[in-house]
Symmetry: C2
Subunit: 367 residues, 2 copies
């Protein structure tokens, strides 16, 4: 800074981004990706009814700061009352508000080593101290997470079910049973971004009023509205009301509000997407196996492919794909970084992957 | 909270909203407003090219976290380089990030009594101590603001030019000259949300590199994209880069990015809107005078109408309009709260106002 003093906390923060966007990579390569399979977006797109609703929105008006219609519809969808629901600018936005509400300088938070980095970004951004536990057999480990939370007196513990980046999951009963060991004073952030792609029973049967848990959901994945920025949280009403202390009340895009409402109403379309996701997961797994990679089971809209060696090798495979026009990402931490992570694509996307992957692996083998 | 401890700061914050939305009022009245003239939106809407661009956006993709294309276009528009520009979720979103970067518990900030409440919301939300100076003849008073900033050692001082809610303005030379008295260590937030509606010369000729000032602009007013949530800031590159420490990198709606880009490119459309705004200001002023109210000069897309008595009377006039289906707002603080604030409307909106206002005033007179 030239002459101004950031807060002591802000001065310590790096000016970095949790993820480099594919557009940045395209500009650096001076070419567009042929297949965009790295951000777990839904290539199948949103319901046509959502597109029509967004088109009809009167974008000259600010959105309703209460997100009333959407919250009411979500309440109906989940069989709860609307005071259990807060809508925000994607799960990323809601995570920021949630961390801000609970975490001050030196407060402990717990997550898994290699789990969603945007949670870490917010936790560090508000002065929190991050404690990480390892994955266990490529799964986030609720027992270890809650044990660590007790050990460090965590304000927040983060658990994604299904998990990103591995695609693994626990059944809901396992999560619910583990809650018995969640320490008093620790709030569980249960990130269910991928729940729409998961088997029945993956969502734990937890009351919306349960004060131990806040659940995060999104329209960015199976609903196909990543670019609209609509997420929501389900929790006890006093916790939900606290978001009104800090959120950007007029932060929601008005067309996005309408689009999410229409998308939610079109569950038939959602189910067709879920079927396409299941088929694409199988195809990605086949392509992986054809090339000597081991596909991990997935309850998400992506598949982690184990490249069979260390992180450097997987990174070389990834680099080979990127250089050949396929945007993919990979886990950040060992040993999960032996994998690359491939989002579900269209048939065309996946034929491109089938064609390109052998070359990318061959180039990685050569070093 | 049931069992969880918010941060000490968050615990002190009220769960309130800076503004009640018109939709909330409509739900309470169980009727829709006939004219929406309270939020300084642009009833004239955005450029048809912006609408087409938003429709064409691939909303299943996350937006570019760098906002690269839009920043480059804005840089060209302003004749500066893109590292002087940060794009965010409206001015409200940018204000939140800016306050977070600079203001910690007990840090002083300065604004005008009755100026934009969302700045105050953020300042208090991050623990800042608000110091207010009065308006002077219905104008924000840069001399008094900067004097107060020196007195209290403010980190930030907020000044809107043109002003909301009064519509008044200073010419750019006045702002620039006042800067000589801005104390070292105080950053001026110059909110230019309404600059597109103002006379030439209202924007001060300040270098984008000037480390004393950050300027805020928006697509929500004359550009007609309030519901899209696109604002930007212009400042010195090291200040601009600091936003990357705290912002929601993937927070921008992808369609909004495209819409803003197309809106910026269509300056011809913008000028037709500005003409319509000027005509509507004259009409609102006429309607006010016809009813014994005094229109204040305005460089914005609204007109403050002086109801000639105190805040209680203006509030009664406002209540009469709202009850009769016209959404308007009014200043929060005396003596500006002797006015109601009417946004520019369509011809139809303003004929409705012309028809309704006498009844609203008569009802207010009766008490």
């Amino acid at each position: 800074m030239t002459k101004f003093a950031l807060t002591p906390l802000a001065a310590t923060l790096p000016s970095t981004v949790p993820f480099v966007g594919p557009e940045t990579q395209e500009r650096a390569m001076d070419r567009a990706f042929d297949a965009r399979l790295g951000a777990n977006e839904s290539v199948f797109g949103p319901s046509p009814k959502a597109l029509a609703a967004m088109k009809a929105a009167e974008i000259w008006m600010y959105g309703d700061p209460e997100n009333y219609d959407l919250r009411l519809a979500l309440a109906g969808h989940h069989g709860i009352s609307a005071d259990h629901i807060i809508v925000g600018e994607g799960i990323d936005g809601l995570l920021g508000y949630l961390v801000r509400l609970f975490v001050g300088q030196g407060d402990a938070v717990v997550t898994s080593d290699g789990a969603y980095p945007t949670f870490n970004y917010h936790a560090v951004g508000f002065g929190g101290t991050l404690h990480k536990v390892p994955y266990k057999d490529d799964h986030e480990d609720p027992v270890a997470l809650f044990f660590k939370a007790k050990e460090v007196g965590a304000k927040l513990v983060y658990l994604a079910n299904p998990d990103n980046p591995m695609g693994s999951w626990h059944d809901g009963a396992t999560i619910k049973a583990a809650l018995d060991d969640l320490p008093d004073g620790t709030l569980l952030i249960l990130d269910e971004a991928y729940i729409d792609c998961a088997p029945v029973g993956t969502a734990p049967n937890i009351a919306a009023d349960d004060p131990r848990v806040i659940r995060l959901r999104t329209f960015s994945k199976a609903y196909g509205l990543a670019g609209a920025r609509v997420g929501y949280a389900i929790g006890a009403p006093d916790l939900i009301a606290a978001f009104n202390k800090v959120r950007n009340h007029f932060g929601m895009n008005r067309a996005a509000q309408s689009g999410a409402l229409a998308a939610l109403a079109d569950q038939t379309y959602l189910q067709t997407v879920v079927s396409k996701i299941e088929t694409a997961r199988q195809t990605i797994s086949e392509i992986g196996r054809e090339n000597g990679l081991i596909p991990l089971p997935s309850a998400t809209n992506f598949v982690a492919l184990d490249c069979g060696r260390d992180g450097a090798h997987a990174k070389a495979v990834l680099g080979g794909l990127v250089a050949r026009g396929i945007f993919v990402r990979m886990p950040f931490s060992a040993p999960q970084n032996r994998c690359i992570r491939v989002s579900c694509g269209t048939d065309l996307n996946l034929s491109t992957l089938r064609r390109i992957l052998p070359d990318a692996i061959a180039a990685a083998e050569k070093g």
